[in-house]
């Protein structure tokens, strides 16, 4: 029972205490402080447990809860401790952030109960070592997040989003249950340790893989099944949607890795598994970012971006599976490390983005980007921290987003010839898709930062915005610092993550990473590729400082006057580019994918050519909802209607039914 697993269980118990606290503390202030205090402690403990688990190695434990003949098994191996680290690293800042964010909420009890339960569910899933515990905590996570999504259930939008969310979560749960059942049939017992040793036939292995893939894919928001994500995340309170986007999607990725890599015999994948994951990853990345570009609701845009980043993680995983199948353990380890690196990166910068969006929502009261603008003058701190997150997510050098995308590119570029022509074409093509997604992400975040923070305020709501309090600033500062550190010192973090491929693929990157000292990141060997973030940053700072000092001779101040705009000074706020117009070129280029519906009506009272007012709105529907969810919904209702007619007949019909049933039974069985 080493320290790591004790710390992990301490984190879980902290979350449990936090869940029970609201029953004692009644008034909102006490509940809020209790909630953020206990969750912060839980986050800190989870982080330390993760780091200890990675350094000292894991341990297993059996708790006396659960079914009599199958108690709860708990395991903290390298994979679990890494994801504990991910959960903890975002939970700590979000907990601090919540202290400020929930300041003026009156009805807090349901949030104060279900948020810790949500955290407990995630930690439980990461730590579980048998199918029953996994499913128990998995569904606990889904149900508690459902209650969080419907926290503000006054508006209809929350309720509809909540319903779809719960339905998809339940479907995912059932699919995962299916895959566990298949593994149970092969292993004869629910414990993961038994499932690992069990020899499973290729057919049933593929069945389990597909079930787990679709189940975890639905929960992670992979493209065809992602319809619920852009509905559910924006309506939840911002600190919760930070947790949901930041961590819950990662727990789904954890589940996928645990089931498909760890339980089904690590390393011996079939080739089409990797290809399928790669294809799903690239299509998610592209669709996610393309749909994100067309949104003008800030949090809905960020939710779509989560789909893109999950796609990037899946590209890393898919490459690693392919390479593992074709017998390149070192490269497969690199792919896995790239995916894990992007997991923690995404948790951090997406958490920061949602917290920033929460801060904007908190002070302006709206999520619509069309009514924001010029907030950098009224919310300087939030703007600066939001900019850090934008740089990280757009994968730009000094920050962490670039390191993980760079590693994924290296895996793709260095993948030697694999199998037939089809495969050799897919890998570079998906690398190109990754590049396109990265660049479009940069476009999208220029739009977000530009429209929200820069330029003139587009509404009086934006003008009356105020800077957020210190709690929220600290809550946002922590992930920003982490983003910079992860971006500058990858060589220190990768050995920590390297334990996971050692566990799963029995291959390690350790020696090649340290080949060139802590400054240079050289994944395979120095001749292949190397990148040194610290030198880049120092170089830029030196050159920048030099240029700034040289160009500032004594006493030359900057004269402020009216903006130039080609000599047309009276420009009002409506003449700026806003969210819809910024993405207009892309809407034209990718018109085939979007199928946007534009409505334009112009009032002309005076003369045919003189327009009084022009109203223009564009709506881009989500393909998954239109072509997947609605048809299934209509089909069920249609069958239900048919059945309903059966219930409106008189007593004679029912007597006849019984009569026919008895005759049928007798005829068949005698």
């Amino acid at each position: 029972m080493n320290t790591a697993i004790i710390l992990a269980l301490a984190a879980c118990s902290m979350a449990l205490i936090a869940a029970l606290a609201p029953l004692l503390l009644r008034q909102p202030v006490a509940q809020r402080t209790g909630l953020s205090l206990l969750l912060a402690a839980s986050g800190l403990l989870a982080m330390i447990a993760g780091i200890c688990g990675l350094i000292l190695g894991g341990d297993t434990l059996i708790l006396p809860l659960g079914l009599p003949w199958m108690p709860m098994h708990v395991r903290l191996d390298a994979l679990a401790s890494f994801f504990c680290l991910v959960i903890g690293s975002l939970l700590l800042p979000v907990a601090i952030y919540s202290q400020g964010y929930l300041r003026d909420e009156t009805r807090l009890t349901s949030l104060a109960i279900f948020m810790p339960l949500f955290v407990l569910g995630m930690l439980g899933v990461v730590l579980s070592d048998d199918a029953f515990t996994f499913m128990l905590f998995w569904e606990l996570m889904s149900v508690s997040s459902y209650f969080l999504v419907t926290f503000k259930h006054e508006n209809l939008e929350n309720r509809k989003a909540g319903f779809i969310y719960l339905l998809m979560a339940h479907m995912a749960g059932l699919l995962i249950l299916g895959s566990f059942a298949v593994l149970y049939a092969a292993a004869g017992s629910f414990e993961f340790s038994a499932m690992r040793e069990a020899a499973i036939s290729p057919f049933w292995a593929s069945a389990a893989f597909l079930l787990a893939g679709f189940g975890f894919g639905t929960k992670a928001g992979v493209v065809p099944l992602h319809g619920w994500l852009p509905e559910a995340h924006p309506v939840a309170p911002s600190n919760v949607s930070a947790l949901m986007s930041g961590i819950m999607l990662k727990v789904a990725i954890f589940g996928f890795i645990r089931v498909c890599w760890d339980l089904m015999g690590s390393g011996d994948f079939q080739w089409w598994w990797g290809a399928l994951v790669l294809a799903a990853g690239s299509s998610s990345a592209i669709t996610g970012v393309l749909m994100a570009l067309q949104q003008h609701d800030l949090k809905r845009l960020l939710a779509y971006h989560s789909i893109e980043n999950i796609g990037i993680i899946l590209i890393g995983l898919g490459l690693s599976m392919l390479l593992a199948h074709f017998g390149h353990p070192m490269l497969a380890a690199l792919g896995l490390v790239a995916a894990l690196y992007h997991t923690i990166n995404h948790a951090l910068f997406k958490g920061l983005l949602f917290m920033g969006a929460g801060a904007v929502l908190h002070s302006t009261g709206t999520r619509d980007m069309e009514s924001m603008g010029g907030l950098i003058h009224r919310m300087p701190w939030t703007a600066a921290l939001f900019l850090v997150a934008c740089l990280s997510i757009s994968a730009l050098p000094p920050f962490n987003g670039f390191v993980s995308e760079w590693l994924t590119f290296q895996t793709a570029l260095m993948a030697p010839q694999m199998g037939g022509a089809l495969l050799t074409a897919i890998v570079p093509f998906s690398a190109a898709m990754l590049a396109l997604a990265g660049a479009l992400a940069a476009t999208c975040f220029v739009k977000v930062f530009g429209v929200v923070f820069l330029g003139h305020a587009r509404s009086e709501v934006a003008t009356s915005a105020h800077e957020v309090d210190n709690w929220m600033k600290v809550g946002m500062a922590i992930p920003a610092v982490f983003c910079l550190l992860l971006g500058l010192l990858p060589v220190l973090f990768i050995p920590l993550m390297d334990r996971v491929p050692q566990l799963l693929l029995h291959a390690s990157l350790a020696d090649s990473i340290h080949a060139h000292g802590w400054l240079w990141l050289t994944p395979i060997d120095v001749a292949h590729s190397s990148y040194s973030a610290p030198i880049v940053l120092i170089g830029m700072l030196v050159l920048g400082g030099l240029a700034f000092w040289l160009l500032h001779p004594k006493g030359r101040t900057i004269r402020r006057s009216v903006m130039w705009s080609c000599g047309n000074p009276h420009v009002n706020a409506r003449m700026q580019y806003n969210a819809t117009s910024f993405s207009q070129p892309l809407r034209r280029i990718f018109a085939g994918i979007y199928r946007a519906e534009e409505e334009l009506h112009i009032e002309r009272s005076r003369h045919k050519l003189l327009a009084d007012s022009v109203h223009y709105a564009v709506h881009v529907g989500d393909m998954a909802v239109q072509y997947l969810y609605q048809p299934i919904g209509k089909l069920t209702l249609y069958i239900a209607k048919l059945l309903q007619h059966e219930h409106q007949r008189g007593i004679h019909a029912y007597l006849a039914y019984t009569f026919i049933t008895i005759l049928f039974l007798l005829a068949v069985y005698i």
Binding site: P64, L65, G66, L67, P68, W69, F132, M135, L136, F137, E139, L140, S142, V143, T150, H153, E154, N158, R159, G162, F163, L166, L167, H170, M171, L174, L177, G178, A181, V182, Y184, A185, T636, L637, I639, A640, K641, L643, Q644, H647, I651, A653, Y654, L655, Y657, T658, T661, I662, L665, L666, Y669, I670
Partner: protein, 493 residues
């Protein structure tokens, strides 16, 4: 043996006494006292029986073993909590003039008579007396369903009476057929109708007659369990009757019918040696799951909707008993317990909700959480429990049913999963708007007694998280008893 008689007679005496008392307040309190006394006696009886594995009383007329003693305790417990709930509920109905003193008296006495019929049915060793007790329970419920004397409730009662009457007649014919073969082996006395004797000589019974008998018994008791396509009476009976009756009806009466069906299955398996009975039950289970899950989507009345949910869960239990392995039977017994607890809790909350909003039409019930947090959250958590979300017991039992199904008949897991998903969608489709949103202005304040609901839900929670040791091996004994006779695949675990 006095414990056994006490358990049986206390509801009978209570019923008779209540028939005489006119003052509603006193009657309500006596009703609760009778419920509590029955429960206490049943618990003592259970402790005694468990010590000695099985007990025969009154020279073979009554037989108690691990299987039916657990059902007796469950019936008594849910009966007790329903009496507690029905106190304030019926007083509210009295004030609103939906029921007068005379009919309230009828309600109390019939309620206890129903309870007596249930306990008699579980404890008797004689399949004839089992049929009589079921008939008695049906007659009591007919009067209870038509309590309000509204046109709809009378029509519902009539429909219930005709359909169940016919169903039970078929079951009687099945019993006669069983007696026809058993008298050839065991002679003409009562001996030929006792479960214990029948099991001992199951092999000598004529398989052809037994399979015909099972067909009649299946359709007969199947009607009472509410399996499709004989389920038409259930939604109306639930919809029109007073809520305590619906709670008891779906919580307990269906269990008794299913108990009888499983007894017959054990018998038929013993004599035919084939898996015919199991397959028929699984077929009916899947059909009812499909029908109920789909018709959940098209309901307008809150109680009718939850009655379809009862059909869905009875279908799951029939399917599990049909599989026959000891894991499946364990799961079915657990499901039966948790379903009774959670479904009756839901009906209590629904009763209060309907009274608060003054209507049973789901379109007009809104903003329960805002109106009365107890009702709102109670309903939401109850529906989450019944839909099979952890940490409640329904999730555990559905998980075990699923794995048992996968072990013996893997292809059945697909319709099972689909059915569960569609049912969950249907339930939440209606519950969500009812629970959330702003409170409408026509909502009245109503005196609410939510303690039974909280007791039931916490018990279900306990069953989900960590099933207590004694209850687990209680199920194991019952499962072993049931599968020991059945020739089907040897049960593991």
């Amino acid at each position: 043996m006095n414990l056994f008689l006490a358990t049986l007679l206390s509801p009978l005496l209570g019923g008779l006494l209540l028939a005489l008392i006119n003052n509603p307040r006193l009657a309500a309190r006596l009703n609760v006292v009778t419920g509590i006394s029955t429960f206490i006696f049943s618990v003592l009886l259970a402790l005694e029986v468990l010590g000695v594995k099985s007990v025969d009383a009154m020279d073979g007329w009554f037989h108690l073993d691990a299987y039916n003693v657990f059902l007796v305790v469950l019936t008594a417990f849910v009966g007790m909590t329903t009496t507690i709930f029905s106190g304030p509920y019926m007083r509210h109905e009295l004030e609103n003039g939906r029921v007068n003193e005379r009919r309230l008296r009828l309600y109390h006495s019939m309620f206890q008579l129903f309870q007596f019929g249930m306990l008699l049915g579980f404890t008797t060793n004689n399949i004839g007396v089992l049929w009589v007790s079921l008939e008695l329970a049906t007659l009591a419920t007919v009067l209870l369903v038509s309590l309000y004397r509204t046109p709809a409730s009378i029509a519902a009662a009539w429909k219930y009476f005709i359909l169940c009457g016919m169903g039970i007649a078929l079951a009687l014919f099945g019993t006669v057929l069983v007696f026809f073969t058993s008298s050839a082996v065991l002679g003409h006395g009562n001996e030929a109708l006792n479960w214990t004797a029948l099991y001992a000589h199951a092999a000598q019974l004529d398989p052809a007659v037994m399979s015909i008998a099972f067909c009649f018994l299946m359709v007969g008791y199947g009607t009472k369990v509410g399996l499709a396509p004989m389920h038409a009476w259930l939604p109306d009976a639930h919809g029109e009757g007073p809520t305590p009756v619906s709670a008891v009806l779906s919580g307990l009466l269906l269990n008794l019918a299913l108990y009888a069906l499983v007894r017959c299955k054990m018998l038929v398996d013993g004599s035919t040696g084939t898996e015919m009975a199991g397959h028929i039950m699984m077929g009916f289970g899947l059909l009812s799951l499909a029908v109920s899950a789909l018709s959940l989507h098209k309901q307008r009345d809150i109680k009718r909707m939850f009655s379809f949910s009862s059909i869905e869960h009875m279908a799951l239990m029939t399917f599990a008993f049909g599989i026959g392995t000891s894991l499946a039977t364990f799961a079915a017994l657990l499901h039966m317990t948790v379903h009774s607890l959670v479904k009756s809790a839901i009906f209590f909350t629904v009763g209060h909700a309907a009274q608060a909003m003054g209507t049973q039409k789901m379109a007009e019930i809104r903003g329960l959480i805002r109106h009365h947090p107890g009702i709102g959250w109670g309903l939401l958590v109850g529906v989450a429990a019944i839909a099979g979300f952890p940490p409640f017991g329904v999730f555990t039992s559905e998980f075990l049913i699923f794995t048992a199904a996968l072990e013996s008949y893997p292809w059945t897991t697909v319709p099972l999963l689909l059915g569960l998903l569609v049912a969950m969608a249907g339930l939440f489709r209606f519950v969500q708007p009812m629970v959330y949103g702003e409170t409408p202005d026509y909502a009245k304040h109503v005196h609410v007694n939510m303690t039974p609901v909280y007791i039931h839900l916490s018990l279900a929670l306990l069953l989900g998280l960590a099933i207590p040791g004694f209850l687990a091996d209680w199920y194991h004994q019952a499962a072993a008893l049931i599968t020991m006779v059945a020739p089907s695949a040897g049960g593991n675990a």
